[in-house]
């Protein structure tokens, strides 16, 4: 256990520099976004009110106040989230291939550690999960700060102050901040399972190389099929026999089966079939 945690610590630190850059981009872009978007809004309001001489009350009726929800749809706000997401998705692959590719033979070291090799696999997965949670936490800390910036920028009659729960519940941010247990299981459980499936597919490739790519793709397809099977059956064979909540729990079981298979297969491959 101690060595597993050390391995997680080690893997975490290996990407830390770039990860902190992601933090920086997110903080800068979103804060600048709040400032730029509120300026645009105020400029627009000024034009309408002072040039077109529309009374404030009428303006507010027609154009609505500004809140973080409007801002959250801007490229300033969503851009860094997408960049972080894409970077992490790429890193899901790179976290493995960096040990194999080029002149680097660090894979030798990792596979010769006196620990069960599945720990290497789990440590890499844990690292990805920690990175995701870290970014979500950053967003959570940024929201109240951004609310404050909005308060400084825009007079109170032109803005709507929302709680964090309202902002995350009513915008696209809801994917990052699930509001119900079912959502949480769907988004995060689904995400973790997907990472494990991709990891195992990568191990197929690392074990069997070119043939392994085919095995990996097949394996992903089978996993997806098992996961989707209950929905497909309910839809096409049983004629919507289950209640949504029943279907959810059946899906949950299917998800757990797929996840368990991914880890079991991953363990088998990294223990017996992997090549350096």
């Amino acid at each position: 256990m101690k060595r597993y945690l050390k391995l997680v610590d080690f893997e975490f630190n290996r990407f830390l520099k770039l990860y902190l850059v992601l933090f920086g981009i997110t903080i800068l872009s979103q804060i600048i976004g709040v400032i730029v978007e509120s300026r645009n809004y105020l400029n627009h309001a000024n034009r309408v009110i002072y040039q077109d001489l529309v009374p404030i009350a009428e303006f507010l009726e027609n154009y609505r106040t500004i809140s973080l929800i409007e801002i959250s749809y801007s490229a300033w706000f969503m851009g860094p989230i997408v960049i972080c997401g894409v970077t992490l998705i790429i890193y899901v692959f790179f976290i493995w291939y960096r040990d194999w590719l080029g002149k680097n033979t660090f894979s030798y070291r990792l596979l010769m550690l006196p620990i069960a090799r599945i720990h290497v696999y789990l440590a890499k997965a844990t690292t990805i999960l920690l990175y995701v949670l870290g970014l979500v936490a950053l967003q959570l800390i940024l929201l109240p700060i951004e609310s404050q910036v909005l308060k400084w920028m825009v007079p109170s009659e032109f803005r709507t102050d929302l709680t964090i729960s309202q902002i995350t519940g009513l915008s696209d941010l809801r994917i990052l901040f699930p509001h119900t247990f079912i959502e949480f299981v769907l988004y995060y459980g689904g995400g973790i399972t997907a990472v494990f499936i991709v990891f195992t597919a990568i191990l197929f490739e690392r074990s069997f190389r070119i043939k392994g790519i085919i095995y990996g793709v097949l394996y992903c397809a089978i996993s997806l099929f098992i996961f989707m099977a209950p929905i497909l059956m309910n839809e096409f064979i049983l004629g919507s026999y289950f209640y949504p909540i029943e279907l959810f729990f059946i899906e949950l079981v299917a998800g757990i089966v797929v996840l368990a298979c991914a880890i079991w297969t991953g363990n088998f491959l990294i223990k017996n079939k992997i090549r350096v």
């Binding site: 030798y108 070291r109 550690l113």
Partner: protein
């Protein structure tokens, strides 16, 4: 003792090992000789479970390799197995973190022996010094068996001499060593046993002193007979 029993290995349709068998004793230096591409490195990787074998069996002191075995046997490949951005010191910390058998005292001793600087970054080392660090990381583990893949290839003469000196020192004493080479000259007087390989089979396995004593032949003489006869 490391026992390799009738090991076969295929890469796709190409058979690289066609039933290889030999043993390497603890306290002895066993040398695998063969031209490049005869499967020397593959054998070492197979011993360390870094590549699967198709059939046969490999035993280390009578048991198959498992996670605990890596405290007992180590492999020094011909490229460094640490992250290039690490300083030598960081590499030591990494090894100490993960191996009970890491011997810091010996690591420090080797560092002086090789005249290396622990604040040097691995990526900035010369080829010879990189090879020395690689060797150091393996030799500073208190393991019974050390496998070395071509420790002399592609490095300068002085580094070679330094590395050869390791073999006659207490750093190797009482351990079982398997070393691969395609060039025996540097170490002819250092090895106990030679295994001659060609195209995935063992052509001959012999104790060098025995052959000198009984047949008056050098390793090269035997090689000439075996490969050209």
């Amino acid at each position: 003792m490391i026992e390799i029993k009738d090991v076969t290995k295929k890469f796709g349709r190409k058979k690289v090992l066609k039933g290889v068998s030999f043993t390497a004793e603890k306290g002895q230096i066993t040398c695998l000789i063969g031209i490049n591409g005869v499967g020397k490195t593959t054998i070492m990787k197979a011993i360390m479970a870094l590549t699967p074998i198709n059939s046969g069996e490999i035993l280390i002191d009578g048991e198959k390799i498992h996670k605990g075995s890596y405290e007992k046997i180590t492999f020094i490949p011909d490229t460094i197995t640490m992250l290039p951005q690490m300083k030598i010191r960081d590499a030591f910390v990494f090894m100490a973190d993960f191996y009970d058998s890491w011997n810091q005292k010996r690591a420090t001793e080797l560092l002086q022996f090789f005249k290396l600087n622990e604040t040097d970054r691995i990526s900035e080392l010369s080829k010879g010094n990189t090879a020395k660090v690689n060797l150091l990381l393996g030799l500073a583990l208190d393991v019974d068996y050390v496998l070395m893949d071509e420790p002399f290839s592609g490095i300068d003469i002085f580094s070679r001499e330094q590395i050869a000196n390791v073999f006659t020192s207490h750093l190797i004493e009482n351990r079982g060593v398997i070393i691969t080479t395609h060039e025996i000259n540097d170490i002819e007087h250092l090895v106990d046993k030679v295994v001659l390989l060609d195209e995935g089979v063992v052509l001959k396995e012999f104790e060098v002193e025995e052959v000198r004593e009984n047949e008056g032949k050098s390793v090269i003489d035997v090689m000439r007979e075996v490969y050209q006869g």
